[in-house]
């Protein structure tokens, strides 16, 4: 089986000319498997990709059924520096909110009070992470489901205080770290030259 994420590029200004396939572009960079109440840091992220994707199977440390987890870029924690919007559903009234915190709110992965076999699932995309002229915009969706409660979360956000290339990503829960069994995999995506 061959990789499928081949790129078609070089579309000229006029017509359809010059499509060509580039090498496979979706690559695994690193995977973190934190122990109980531990945070995750990806550092020295290679600058050779165009985009990053985090694929996460996670549980928070909160003793209840719902935790909130978050992300920081390059170790930065400016007050109100991470801005975003999210829509959340699954129980009770729907929620659509603006966020402005020292971290990027990534939603609810479920807490440690749930069945030990239940883990939330999230996918976070970070585009143009090496660009030094843009604020870094994130897209995130996921949630958790236990068969009795759950949350679904869809959000976007960005860091307004820095245009630096992203070389480090920190992930943790608001009630402490993440729980054993959590896996967070970082991937890089290339584009055609």
């Amino acid at each position: 089986m061959s990789p499928i994420t081949e790129l078609i590029g070089s579309v000229k200004a006029y017509g359809w000319g010059n499509f060509s396939a580039a090498p496979a572009s979706f690559e695994s960079i690193a995977t973190a498997n934190p122990g109980n109440n531990q945070s995750v840091t990806f550092s020295s992220i290679p600058q050779t990709f165009a985009h990053l994707q985090l694929r996460c199977s996670i549980k928070g440390n909160d003793a209840g059924t719902i935790d909130t987890w978050f992300l920081r870029l390059n170790g930065l924690a400016p007050g109100s520096g991470y801005r975003g919007h999210f829509i959340r559903g699954g129980a009770g009234a729907p929620t659509a909110l603006t966020t402005s915190d020292s971290y990027m709110n990534l939603g609810n992965p479920g807490g440690n009070g749930n069945d030990s076999r239940v883990f939330g699932s999230f996918i976070v995309d970070i585009l143009d992470y090496t660009n030094t002229n843009k604020y870094k915009t994130l897209r995130n969706f996921g949630g958790f489901e236990t068969s009795s409660i759950g949350r679904v979360f869809f959000s976007s956000g960005f860091l307004v205080t820095s245009t630096s290339a992203i070389t480090q990503i920190d992930l943790s829960g608001l009630s402490g770290g993440l729980m054993n069994g959590t896996t967070i995999a970082l991937y890089g995506i290339k584009v055609a030259a």
Binding site: I29, R55, G90, V118, F119, E145, S147, G150, V152, A185
Partner: protein, 159 residues
């Protein structure tokens, strides 16, 4: 640091005629995540359903959903169903199953559904079973999947 290219096609089925059921079997456990892509046409009011392995239980699946449609927004959840429900019209459904071969976790699946007539939605599903997923069955309920519907399965391997 990078471990090399991944995100590989495992299997694809394109229907040449209307069909009620499609299955992927003997799925390798060598990946970390599975991605299911359905570009589907459903007849009439038919909707699709997904079940894993040889599960015959009628209450092992649950979901919560955020849906935007012509009538506004809908947020709901339901437990104890007999499969993962797909949309009921022309559309695309993309689902992600992380740690699908893990045998200590229930299987959580997140999905986005975009249908031309019923709206766009984000789902979180749970299959309340710790078995590794080795088979996936798609079934039309009340009708068939139409001709030209495609079902594709990809595998992603983490470092």
């Amino acid at each position: 640091m990078a471990a090399g290219p991944t995100y590989e096609p495992i299997a694809t089925t394109t229907l040449s005629s209307a069909q009620n059921s499609v299955s992927f079997s003997s799925i390798s456990g060598s990946y970390t995540d599975l991605v299911i892509v359905i570009n589907g046409l459903y007849s009439g009011t038919t909707y699709g359903k997904i079940k894993f392995n040889s599960d015959t239980g009628d209450a092992n699946y649950s979901y919560n959903r955020a849906l935007g449609y012509s009538g506004g927004t809908l947020f709901d959840r339901a437990g104890g169903s007999d499969g993962i429900s797909l949309g009921s019209s022309r559309g695309t459904w993309i689902g992600h199953i992380q740690n699908y071969a893990n045998t200590t976790k229930y299987k959580t699946l997140i999905a986005r559904e975009n249908t031309a007539t019923t709206g766009t939605a984000v789902f979180v599903y749970l299959w309340k079973d710790t078995s590794a997923i080795t088979g996936i069955t798609f079934t039309g309920v009340g009708g068939n999947f139409d001709s030209t519907t495609t079902f594709t399965l990809y595998g992603i391997a983490a470092a």
